[in-house]
Subunit: 353 residues, 5 copies
Amino acid sequence: MPRNSKHRLKKIGLPPGTLIHIGEQKIENTRIEIFDFDETHFQAKVVQSIDECFPFKDTPSVTWINIDGLHDIETIEKIGNYFDIHHLILEDILQTGQRPKFEDFGSYIYIVLRMFSYENDDHIKEEQISIILGANFVISFQEDIGDVFNPVRERIRSGRFQIKKRKADYLAYSLIDAVVDNYFIILEKLGEKIETIEDELMDNPKPETLQSIHQLKRKLIALRKSIWPLREVISRLERGESYLFEESTIIYLKDVHDHTIQVIDTIETFRDMASGMLDIYLSGMSNKMNEVMKVLTVIATIFIPLTFIVGIYGMNFEFMPELKWHLGYPLIWSIMIIVALGMMFYFYRKKWL
Amino acid sequence: MPRNSKHRLKKIGLPPGTLIHIGEQKIENTRIEIFDFDETHFQAKVVQSIDECFPFKDTPSVTWINIDGLHDIETIEKIGNYFDIHHLILEDILQTGQRPKFEDFGSYIYIVLRMFSYENDDHIKEEQISIILGANFVISFQEDIGDVFNPVRERIRSGRFQIKKRKADYLAYSLIDAVVDNYFIILEKLGEKIETIEDELMDNPKPETLQSIHQLKRKLIALRKSIWPLREVISRLERGESYLFEESTIIYLKDVHDHTIQVIDTIETFRDMASGMLDIYLSGMSNKMNEVMKVLTVIATIFIPLTFIVGIYGMNFEFMPELKWHLGYPLIWSIMIIVALGMMFYFYRKKWL
Amino acid sequence: MPRNSKHRLKKIGLPPGTLIHIGEQKIENTRIEIFDFDETHFQAKVVQSIDECFPFKDTPSVTWINIDGLHDIETIEKIGNYFDIHHLILEDILQTGQRPKFEDFGSYIYIVLRMFSYENDDHIKEEQISIILGANFVISFQEDIGDVFNPVRERIRSGRFQIKKRKADYLAYSLIDAVVDNYFIILEKLGEKIETIEDELMDNPKPETLQSIHQLKRKLIALRKSIWPLREVISRLERGESYLFEESTIIYLKDVHDHTIQVIDTIETFRDMASGMLDIYLSGMSNKMNEVMKVLTVIATIFIPLTFIVGIYGMNFEFMPELKWHLGYPLIWSIMIIVALGMMFYFYRKKWL
Amino acid sequence: MPRNSKHRLKKIGLPPGTLIHIGEQKIENTRIEIFDFDETHFQAKVVQSIDECFPFKDTPSVTWINIDGLHDIETIEKIGNYFDIHHLILEDILQTGQRPKFEDFGSYIYIVLRMFSYENDDHIKEEQISIILGANFVISFQEDIGDVFNPVRERIRSGRFQIKKRKADYLAYSLIDAVVDNYFIILEKLGEKIETIEDELMDNPKPETLQSIHQLKRKLIALRKSIWPLREVISRLERGESYLFEESTIIYLKDVHDHTIQVIDTIETFRDMASGMLDIYLSGMSNKMNEVMKVLTVIATIFIPLTFIVGIYGMNFEFMPELKWHLGYPLIWSIMIIVALGMMFYFYRKKWL
Amino acid sequence: MPRNSKHRLKKIGLPPGTLIHIGEQKIENTRIEIFDFDETHFQAKVVQSIDECFPFKDTPSVTWINIDGLHDIETIEKIGNYFDIHHLILEDILQTGQRPKFEDFGSYIYIVLRMFSYENDDHIKEEQISIILGANFVISFQEDIGDVFNPVRERIRSGRFQIKKRKADYLAYSLIDAVVDNYFIILEKLGEKIETIEDELMDNPKPETLQSIHQLKRKLIALRKSIWPLREVISRLERGESYLFEESTIIYLKDVHDHTIQVIDTIETFRDMASGMLDIYLSGMSNKMNEVMKVLTVIATIFIPLTFIVGIYGMNFEFMPELKWHLGYPLIWSIMIIVALGMMFYFYRKKWL
């Protein structure tokens, strides 16, 4: 069953705003990483305690705090207090079954995204990314170590790209963009899977093929569920609902919006394809059955009459004149050969042979 | 058939506003429970008569009156008179097949919710919860004893939580939240049911499996019907349609709204899954049939020609030279073995063996 | 085919506004019934000619004229002239295939409803109810004698209820309410039908069961088509589009609106159930087929090889050593029993037995 | 394939506004008919050249020019010049695959409708009707001679009806009304077709029945495609988008709007019915198969074991004691009869007999 | 898998605005073509370097620059700099998996279209067309040489058409119109394909027919995905969102809008037809199976009992009186003939023969 509803149960009955991590604990220790940069300087480090991050809050430079692992409630609470985040938001960060959403609190906004990755060949891992964007800081929360933000880190480090010259809103955009770009990799893999299944359907459909089609459909349903609301989220940001996004960044959000629609379009196309494959599978099965039936019918209808004929001359009546005929035996062979050929001609004309 | 339309029949032909309990009487005696609290004091008791509640109406503290059992028309009428509730609302409270709705009468609002619980392993019990929220009171009506409000009662009692410091609107929110939170338990159980059915589908699909899938689908349809309108209800409250909800509570309603959407999303996913399972079941059945047909075909097509051959030499013609041959019998065995092996090779290549 | 399009043909080619009764003539004589009442007086009679009704028009009391039978064009025309009704409305009254609609002419409004009743056990009779509501009068037109308005008549007569104290708008509401309430009876009967079909599906599905399911589906489609637009009609009235409905009546319309939505919801649920039953029927059929095939396969695959074996020793070769063995016959029996048991064990393991 | 896309090809690559007739040329000579009337006078004639019509343009009376046949580009161009019609409209008139639409050019409006007629028993002929409505004139363009406007012509001629007293907008309304009224005849015929197919389904479903169902579905799809946009067209006219339609005519447009919705509703119902018939057909086919299988199974499973038994006593072992028994033969008959009856009883209980 | 997501992968991780060609490189050398014209002069040439185009920018005449091939990043960048195009637009031009869209930058607008052509008999080639429209210039970008703009070029060259007298907006319209007109050719070919498949379905449905139907469906899905958003694009242009399109051109856009809707309508109709064909195919298959079963059943049920009868008189009991009868043999033949005829009569009445 979907993880979100399962883990939510821990929470039931607690007063709203109680901080409790809902979801699997995926790593042992929370990992806190901090980037601080502006056009002229750059600093990046992994810190042991969240307290080390707070001094950066009051500098004018852009500060990005990235937290991997959500089980350390204390750290989250400290951030909440220091950056003055509403306790319901902290709750949402910790509750890892959110659908993508966007909430505007004036001085900061809260965005939830869902990140996908292929864990091994066939399993898609889903992770919740929470982003808090303030005037000069971005805080991102992930469930696990390992993400899709390395290109962003590279660009900050190299210093050659606009990201260093721009504000926190552009950094937030870059993170969203990285997540959306990554969806194309998932689609690519699913596309390959579709090709594999199609080849299987052509060559030799098996019951396992049906399993594959249904697993594919299910993945597409899950992806769609997680990506569909994102369209609305980005569209609201793009319409300028939050003043934290500057005009010059909004045009980039339009670009992300286009990509999201493209992802959703592709998912829809894949779903149509999966339905088509189901039809092909089912009719392939019924073709096979048809073929089996034809073989049975051809063999049975040729030999059953013949067996009847030989049965006749196996009877023990005392007075059966044919049995005494010298040519009786070859004659009966001739009759049987004629019957068999007639049958075969009939089947040939019916296209069953 | 759905309970609501069945029980409504009692009512047909009566003038609007006639108070009559529509639905099963689930308990013998109406149970009235009262909570009165503010930041500094707290009082809770079960009262015998509704009249004992009325003095609390005029104190500034928050008063929560909870009524279990709807067959005692007199009590309901007294409440209606004392709190000045429109008689159509009283009618709606007593008529237990309402869909979730919200009506605003200025000085108070009326909210209908539907509560679910698993009665025994396989039956979902549905109950109508009516909530009336006024400036400093909340009245809740239930069909039966036993509900999902114990955590709320606990929080009021313990006095440690914000619920004690806030107004009646927060109490109403807490009740709604408790109902919505409880949906996740139902979903959890349904999720487990889906897993069970899926295992059955893999191992050994039976006609009973189909029954289970259809029962599941039906439950999902019923849940959806009861929860879908709630989304609109909460969305309207959250948009601030009633001035009884303060700004600081509305942010909590947003949270409930998110949860409701999550519940609906999960129901939709479950429905998709149920459809998928139906497909798998049906194609599993047809696979089985295929297999049965193959066995029949293989056996019949191997032995029918052989039976013909032995039939030939069972004929009683006087002049059949082969019968006199010394090696006739072993020869015929050889021919039959060759025919049988040829057939088997053919079936092997067709992948029927 | 649906009655409406069939009967409309009479009308084609005539200029708009031509009064011609479209539909079956269901009774011989038009029956005109009049109620006139206010808080203090009450009068009811069946009149021979519509002219007797006109004097009531100018009294301030509420006048309800109910006409059963639409074939008497003259009467309709007179009403049209006297109450100044647009001739297109008169045309709509006579044309009995209208969908529910509401038209506002300022000084009066025109409402079309569809009334259902079970004529005999299995046939649903549909009737068009036209209601014209003016400042102090209501005129209702029915196709046939016999309706769902008796409870309303009772309430007016008894004088105990608010209907006598209120205006014509409340009377109109009461009529609409009576029609909508009556839908629940139809739903109740359909619900029973669904239960019957379900029992049949469990016990012994027959081709007739399929017929029943399809008849049910068709009834649901027809009901839905006739009730769906009503939702919009009442919603527009409730939003206060016509000033003829007073604020104090509109709250009652909200109630009817809720009931209409409940009816539509139930119809949708029934349709989902009917689809589910179709699936169960079809897979039940294919299960039966499966079972038939299994019996054939088991019998045929057990006996075909045995028949081959006995065929061998029915051959007439002169040199067949086994025939001379003393224990040949019991030996062959043993072999056959082993083969048969082996087959049965195989089928047992395959769960075909 | 649909005619519209096929014929459009002629046009591709030409500059917009190039007048070329797209569609089949259905008649040899264009036929031009003119009606000119007001309350006091009336004139109707068939003219040879369009020039004869132009003098009527400047009289205050209502002028209706009806043109049958669209291949005479010159005539169309002259009209365009004289009445000052935009060349894109002329293009649309000549291009006969338009969907219903309405365009407002201030001094005149352009309306496209689609007219249907049954050509022979089974083929529905579709024709494009273009109507241009100006202050005091209506020009209608048809592809072929023969239309549904005769009742309108009659009404103008007889002089008894309001059409003679009203303006060009009422004439335009009358033409639209005639086209929509005619849809009911098509629906009537389709309804009869549905009844025929249903009878066939009950009595003796054949593969041809499936063909009929599919042809029906296709016709319904085509009708729906051509009528659906009309709803929007009339709704826009009725909302008063063009000042050419006077208030007193708009109420008539509402009537046409209702009829259009009724037509669409009926088409939807027919589509639902066609789907239901497909289900019935398919399950009827599978029932037949079931029956065939049962007969085979019953016969085969009764006689295969019996054949085995007689095979046993056809063996030629020297030592088979039963063969010597005096009562062996009747005994074996008894056994076989018992086996056969046992089988039949089994099948009887399984309801296969 | 769809090309767009596959090729996008190259791009992942790069900062936004990085120019990189995403898609196949279809030609070796970029081809740059320039048209410059106004009412009085006309000039057209193919240039080697984009720099030769820039002088035309500042003349008042209309300049059309057409670029075939997108791999030459440098050229694109130069255009971007010279015409001051936002770098995200340049990125979109190079990324060839865009859905149709329209973006307004005030001084210029950017439109993406998708062009289709039949490459060989069965493969539809899809190409992205980007159009940039400024005050007095149009720049179009194509992936490959060969397009649908030749008629436009012809009209400019000939000088007889309005295109020469009008502004750049009319040129942009003409290009869009050419692309949309071309869709009709694709639809025409698909229509022919549908006819071919339908003939195949009538004559001799084969598994390959199913393949064809699914390929057809897939093409329709792809077309729909690429054309559907165009409707919105043109509708926004037509509503006058950009001041670059003059009033007199907007009426032409309405025309294109109509065509686009017609294309989408036809695609929807084709999809409905494809679904219908699938149904016919499947039921054709099951009819065939039925027929196979009937032949088997008839033959088997006639001969199995007969074989049993001859088996009886093949038994070797010493005391079988019938064997001694003189007329035993002809008698048994008579019985068998009667049984066979009885069976055949039964099957005849069941319509299996």
